[in-house]
């Protein structure tokens, strides 16, 4: 099997007394889409945020494409936090889409996508405009390029968020509950965009509450509970035949048994 693009090894993190990640080890293959599910507080979002060091972790290591992300091991178990410049360069290759979009409100949709291309990738205005327009077309916002975020619906804003992330051609895309803040009728348009990306071979880690989506789009589903990875396998196996009692009760609480039985 090829080298995994994301290698998470024995990651530990505590907020005070509360251990939110316990010895998490996970590999993600190139081109794979992995859904992480679990109850609120299970650590899934924290794990995702550790991958591009929006959250620090106490021990273990995370590598993306062979490069240790937030820290550099200096031998005998010690590590040093990477400098601001090193971190920025590494983060540029890791895309992230946020639950609350976090578009830049003072910039138009196009400028939102262009900012990283110009300032980080060093593209010319013309090149960046071309790339931005390409991706905005792809997410179905060809007619909204000049719009400010405040003039867009939630679903449209989130699609700009996706375009902003993928325009950087990241090695891996992190999606953090990207439909949780959307009105139900807007969820579909966003998930459709993600599904297309998955089909085209974008490597994605998707933290989600949408079980049907996790099942459809994911090559793998990972169930986390209380900071631990409890199950990890093909969607149907994990969601239809949950081995672990915690996952069984989690799915029961979501009342999904009926949906998946069909």
């Amino acid at each position: 099997m090829a080298e995994p693009i994301v290698r998470i090894r024995n990651v530990e993190k505590s907020f005070g007394q509360n251990r939110v990640l316990r010895d998490v080890t996970l590999d993600i293959e190139r081109g794979q889409t992995v859904s992480i599910i679990g109850a609120s507080g299970s650590g899934k979002t924290t794990l995702l945020r550790c991958i591009n060091l929006l959250e620090t972790y106490d021990a273990g290591s995370i590598e993306v494409d062979g490069v240790e992300v937030g820290y550099r091991s200096t031998g005998n178990g010690r590590r040093r936090r990477r400098s601001e410049t090193e971190l920025a360069a590494i983060r540029a290759d890791i895309g992230m889409v946020f639950q609350l979009f976090y578009l830049f409100p003072h910039l138009t949709a196009r400028q939102n996508v262009m900012l990283g291309l110009v300032k980080v990738r060093g593209k010319s205005k013309a090149e960046a405009t071309e790339i931005a327009d390409h991706w905005l077309d792809r997410v179905g916002l060809a007619d909204k390029k000049e719009s400010l975020p405040a003039e867009l619906s939630g679903g449209q804003q989130q699609r700009v968020g996706i375009a902003r992330a993928v325009a950087m051609s990241p090695k891996v895309l992190l999606l953090d509950e990207i439909t949780s803040a959307l009105d139900p009728e807007l969820v579909g348009e966003v998930l459709l965009v993600v599904k297309r990306l998955a089909e085209e071979g974008m490597t994605m880690i998707v933290v989600t509450h949408e079980m049907t989506f996790a099942r459809e789009v994911g090559d793998r589903v990972v169930f986390m509970d209380d900071g631990l990875v409890l199950e990890d396998g093909p969607p149907d196996e994990v969601l239809l035949n949950p081995k672990h009692e915690r996952l069984q009760s989690f799915l029961k609480r979501l009342n999904l048994a009926g949906i998946f039985a069909t």
Binding site: A88, R91, I94, L100, F104, L115, V120, L148, A165
Partner: protein
Amino acid sequence: MWAAIESLPFLVQGFLVTLQVSFLVVAISLVIGVVMGTGLVFGRWWLYWPVRLYSDFIRGIPVLVLIFFVYYGLPVLGLNLDNFWAAVAALTAFKVAHVVEIFRGAVQSIHHGQMEAGKAIGLTFWQRLTWIILPQAVRRFLPPWINAVTDAVKGSALVSLIGVVDLMLAVQQVIGRTYEPMPLYVTGAIIYFLINYSLSTVSRRLEVRFSYIRD
């Protein structure tokens, strides 16, 4: 009444000094205040605490005490400023503290997600500050800052107490010659008002200019 009109050229001299003092104070305090404010919001403890202490201390004492301290007190320590520069220095030191707090408020009102989104696309700290945080913070910085600027113009009248012939002292000197306080105080008040009113007008224009919600 005539006295007021005849003395106008002299009052204009004072008016120019008031403008000069105000302009220097506002410009210097803006630069220093923003730099120190950045230290306060983003700095580690060794940057944070000195700024915090400075701001709290300065804002806790009357500005007149500060002016007298710089003019009468500092020479004891070997720093001799003439009254004009002592006035500018004291008012600037005072205004810096306000700019620091206004800057802090403006920057902290920007959602932390904006910083995160900037990190996620690989921008460095200074890039995030320049392209994401500051452009948004300007809008929230301007209104209270213009207030602080008008305060600085009004507060500059205090420099008359160490003998700087600004608008205030010019008015008083003319009154000393003509014994006609009413028309002169009214003239002085009108000039102060005109300065500050035009400032607020400019401010409203700027706020519209920097607003990113199109109406």
